[in-house]
């Protein structure tokens, strides 16, 4: 048996147990093999897809390297975001400060690449040695006449969520600076979709088909000028609420733009996303187009989904994702495929998330916050899981245990959003669970005791 630390016991809940009091939003215990990342990571993943901006990481080399083009956030035009720029702070800079280096680096880069804006990420060291990143940014903005935005994302100053918030504040500083305040009719901003595998394009196409105008996408396939004019939209549509709700609230306050939370994963959630936008505008023509779109898309994919459902019925899935919202959609999607979610967890869910997750789950489902590989393996074994849905660090664990895996995180290469995405998802789940390789599995005994 593995030991679960006393302090962690409240971060694990089995549906059916009487007392539900999930402890979450805590920092990880020192010494844990956590699957979580840091503040910088949170900021970087949110802002990175803005393709015509310069992204400069101010710190030693590592932070820039580990976030260099890893997310597969596609761009239909410029690709400046896919390069890696670092001030590569060394020992001398740590002693004497990196401000001079930052200043000359920024000026040189802006001159060479002519970006529409620059984001400067302060890492642990920048914060610690006391570099005044904000004032350097201000100075460079004055010299170069483009927005130069400091992102206070020192790794130790909180969790990944604080990084999301820092990114939201950075974006917010741009919004409303285009000089144009006129509203675009029937318009929205897409928040919290990052165009992984071209997902923003799929969603945008749906909106175009029903007559909704998209002003800015934040940040998938994002452009600085669009973001500056995002105040012209009538509604903010927020996916990935963990990362982008902060921005939606700021915009509501300053520009009186209301927001709704949606998910584009799975049949119900995708349809509900479109309908909730339409309900906001209360327009008959748009409603008709939407009804038509939804029914034609569902009609198109259902026969194939039903076919997969016959084959996958009764299989068990474990879901461990970054933000809890994704887990909701996954549970619903997997139910469409006749599957049961027997383990569900997230790195950064909050209490409301977990309450919802509990209500959505079947009896006996294990719900877990900020888990580690040891626990995860144990639950997978206990619940006879056939597929794990997670991110990069979970993949090899699933494979070692001899079960299928689907990346629903940064490294998905096949679009999983929208109706098309549901088809892709079904195909991916089916192909990995049914892979002939599992026939050669020697045994299936789960985690070894340590």
């Amino acid at each position: 048996m593995i030991n679960i630390l006393e302090q962690r016991k409240k971060q694990i809940y089995k549906k059916g147990e009487k007392h539900f009091d999930m402890k979450c939003e805590t920092t990880s215990l020192a010494g844990s093999v956590s699957q979580r990342a840091c503040v910088f990571c949170g900021s970087r993943v949110v802002l990175y897809p803005i393709a015509d901006a310069l992204h400069l990481v101010h710190g030693p080399i590592g932070c820039a390297v580990y976030t260099w083009d890893i997310r597969g956030a596609l761009s239909s035009g410029p690709e400046l975001h896919r390069n890696s720029f670092s001030t590569d702070l060394n020992e001398i800079d740590v002693i004497y400060g990196g401000e001079k280096k930052l200043l000359s680096t920024l000026i040189e880069l802006i001159e060479r690449y002519q970006p529409k804006a620059a984001f400067v990420y302060a890492t642990c060291i920048a914060g610690l040695i006391g570099d005044d990143v904000s004032s350097i940014c201000k100075k460079v903005a004055g010299l170069t006449r483009i927005p130069v935005i400091p992102v206070q994302s020192e790794g130790f100053k909180g969790t990944k969520k604080d990084g999301y918030a820092a990114a939201c504040h950075a974006l917010f500083s741009l919004i409303g600076t285009s000089g144009n305040e006129q509203k675009v009719p029937f318009s929205i901003n897409i928040l919290g979709d990052f165009n992984l595998a071209g997902e923003t394009w799929i969603i945008k196409e749906y909106y175009a088909r029903i007559g909704i105008n998209v002003v800015a996408t934040m940040t998938g396939d994002g452009r600085i000028d669009d973001i500056r004019g995002a105040n012209r939209a009538e509604l903010n549509v927020v996916q990935c609420s963990g990362s982008m709700t902060t921005l939606a609230k700021l915009m509501q306050e300053k520009f009186q733009i209301p927001f709704i939370k949606v998910s584009y994963f799975g049949i119900e959630d995708m349809s509900e996303a479109l309908y909730s936008v339409v309900r906001h505008f209360d327009n008959r023509e748009i409603m008709e187009k939407t009804t038509k779109l939804v029914s034609s898309e569902i009609e198109r994919i259902m026969p194939t989904i039903a076919d997969y459902r016959r084959k996958l019925s009764g299989k068990n899935a474990a879901v461990y994702v970054g933000g809890a919202f994704k887990a909701f959609s996954l549970i619903k999607s997997l139910r469409h495929l006749g599957m049961n979610v027997v383990v569900a967890g997230s790195q950064t869910g909050n209490n409301d998330d977990y309450t919802l997750l509990k209500d959505l789950s079947d009896e006996g489902t294990i719900i877990v916050d900020d888990t580690n590989p040891l626990e995860l393996s144990k639950f997978i074994q206990e619940k006879k899981v056939d597929i794990l849905i997670g991110g990069v660090k979970e993949r090899p664990i699933a494979y070692k245990l001899g079960l299928g895996f689907c990346d629903h995180n940064h490294e998905r290469k096949i679009a999983l959003a929208g109706y098309e995405g549901m088809l892709n998802f079904a195909k991916e789940v089916y192909s990995t669970i049914m892979s002939p390789v599992w026939q050669f599995r020697v045994s299936r005994e789960g985690t070894e005791d340590i």
Binding site: S34, A37, T87, S104
Partner: protein
Amino acid sequence: MLLRHTTKEVKEREALVVNPAKTCQPIGAMYAALGIHKCLPHSHGSQGCCSYHRSTLTRHYKEPVMAATSSFTEGSAVFGGQSNLVEAINNIFTVYKPDIIAVHTTCLSETIGDDVPQIVEKARIDGKIPEGKYVINASTPSYVGSHVTGFANMVKGMVNCLAENTGTKLDQINIIPGWTEPSDMREIKCLAHKMGVKIVMFPDTSDVLDAPQTGRHVFYPKGGVSIEQLKSTGNSVATIALGPVASAPAAEVLNAKCKVPCEILDLPIGIRATDRFIEKLAGIAGKIVPDAITEERGRLIDIITDMQQYFYGKKVALFGDPDQLISLAEFLKDLDMKPVHIVTGTPGKKFETSIKEILKEGVPEVNVRAAGDMYLLHQWIKNEPVDLLIGNTYGKYIARDEDIPFIRFGFPILDRIGHSYFPSVGYKGGMHLVEKILGAILDRKDRDSAEESFELVL
């Protein structure tokens, strides 16, 4: 074109890295520590560092990578990370039960000045380290050196913390394999075995990061050098350090600490470097090189003989880690190819001198740079185009934009699978490399040939 901004004109840059050819120390320390049996690497810093290193190592090796973190908060940054580390040590031994924890620092804990040996001592006094268990450490500030430096420092840490000279010489030779693939470490062990030489290799990630699929998630796979073996390195006859940057520092410390003489060799990549390694190993151990190895060498020479007509004068650009590049440059020269541009991100002027020395006959005009980046390499290629590019995954942007055949070699490889299963060291590794090189060159010839000159037999 993704790198459309790269200019042909090369201008010296002082304070700016564009598309790095290195990463930071801690990831190297983590990789080295994974080569100790039942060891849990521990990152003393923010949570993100540990997560990034695990993700990158996972992407390259396609294996579960376990490591713990001190999970620094703002409080720890202000008051020091002592309580985090002591608590971490306690939690790790309680939950994950390793035999040994290998603590490496980060830019954060280095800058706030945490004294890790002293904190570990405190943990020991407080009874947080169970009987028979170990905590070793290495100082790996991210703002000095590169990932290779971090690897070297953790290997040095193994010697510092564990090696003992008990006064009884053991009939064994230490081999430090450098930051090579698990397959390379396996091949080095295999060569020593064929020669009948008893070795202790450290670190050893074979059977850790190339573990078989068994339907079990083994938290500590069966591979890795044992703590007993590490202790015994102080009683060995000699140490062979493969790679001056990654392996020499530990070998030198072992010599100073336990009086174990050391030989610093290049990584055994290519004919000459492998010859030197085999001769040295045989010499120290007093063994004769067995026919099996001589014949393996013969097969490599035979393959190269068959291939030489295609290699002559082909220009190559290389980038990656210094120890690998030095041996590879020598090998390419022996294949009659011309390595014209060579970049490592790892700082150290000695690298440039070594490369120039190796290529002074053959490619005296070589462009070589330590502490360089991929942007510079791209500019050089624009000025003098090449027939082949060899390096890690990050070369794919240049290869695509300039339409150059590209061989993935080094760390990290994020977009292919299988590289960690085939060696590039030894004669066998040489065969594997030349097969890849010729394949890349002839695939290109087939692709580019007009139909009338597209031939079945090449």
